[in-house]
């Protein structure tokens, strides 16, 4: 039981507990904080799985960008009357049953059907290999995804800043 294994199980436990807490959360702001805990734990797991670039991207993009956007949206869509924004639950039975059924099916398939005994190596990916692939074999998807991101952000800014009329009472 070395330090990497301990950290591995620590991050997995943190992410699982925060996920369950997010399902039962009533306040949107607490939900955003649980989501941040999940995303940071996943970044830790990526580091332990030799995906350092993905971990840094996860922290920069999710914990730095998406969470800030979500918290902005929470503040813009609450009535700000001093009370926390509480969320009702609907379709509890069907949603819970669907989630539990899907979880059982996935766990059954993962645990029982697949043989993992071959082809497991602990050899780390070198970060230069990742960067070289990104700039040679995957350079076209990389540039295209940059253009897609630019277009989406411009579109989001245009949609969020255009004014709409109030509905008739």
């Amino acid at each position: 039981m070395n330090a990497a294994t301990i950290l591995h199980y620590f991050f997995i436990t943190t992410a699982a507990v925060a996920t369950v807490a997010l399902v039962f959360a009533r306040s949107v702001f607490y939900g955003a904080l649980y989501l941040m805990i999940i995303l940071l734990s996943l970044a830790g797991l990526y580091v332990l799985s030799f995906a350092e670039f993905l971990a840094v991207t996860q922290i920069l993009v999710y914990a730095g960008g998406v969470l800030v956007l979500i918290i902005f949206a929470i503040m813009l869509t609450s009535n700000l009357n001093g009370k926390p924004l509480l969320v009702d639950h609907s379709n509890r039975l069907s949603g819970g049953l669907l989630g539990l059924t899907l979880l059982s099916i996935l766990v059954y398939l993962i645990a029982g059907q697949i043989n993992w005994n071959n082809a497991y190596g602990s050899e780390a990916f070198a970060l230069p290999v990742f960067g070289r692939l990104l700039m040679t074999r995957y350079v076209l998807p990389f540039e295209l995804i940059g253009i897609v991101l630019l277009i989406a952000l411009i579109g989001a800014a245009v949609v969020a800043s255009s004014s709409t009329k109030r509905p008739k009472p």
């Binding site: 797991l45 993905l54 996860q58 639950h89 609907s90 766990v107 290999v129 692939l133 709409t164 009329k165």
Partner: protein, 101 residues
């Protein structure tokens, strides 16, 4: 039990919880958080499988693309949520039932 199993189980838990959140919650921002959970579980699965088949980091590169698409989805989705809230003064998805007045 190798560490890969645990990542796959965590991915299964994240996916199921995300789906349940999308169905259960009566707030559009929570629904977007559930979609983020779904996308993150797919990235986690890509990383876990790339750890098993580790001759080329294809899974990690695809995971990077998934993250960028998730960011696009979050930005556009939250912009639409803000506009819908301005129009309807409500962020409950069941109450938004018309596209024009």
């Amino acid at each position: 039990m190798t560490p890969d199993y645990d990542l796959l189980f965590l991915g299964a838990l994240l996916f199921s919880a995300g789906l349940s959140i999308v169905i259960i919650k009566r707030n559009m921002i929570f629904v977007l958080m559930g979609i983020e959970l779904l996308l993150n579980s797919s990235v986690l699965n890509l990383v876990a499988f790339n750890r098993i088949h580790n001759d080329v980091p294809d899974g990690q590169i695809f995971g990077l693309f998934v993250i960028v698409i998730a960011v696009c989805e979050a930005a556009v989705g939250l912009a639409i949520v803000i506009q819908v809230y301005r129009y309807y003064q409500s962020s409950v998805p069941d109450q938004i039932n018309e596209l024009k007045e």
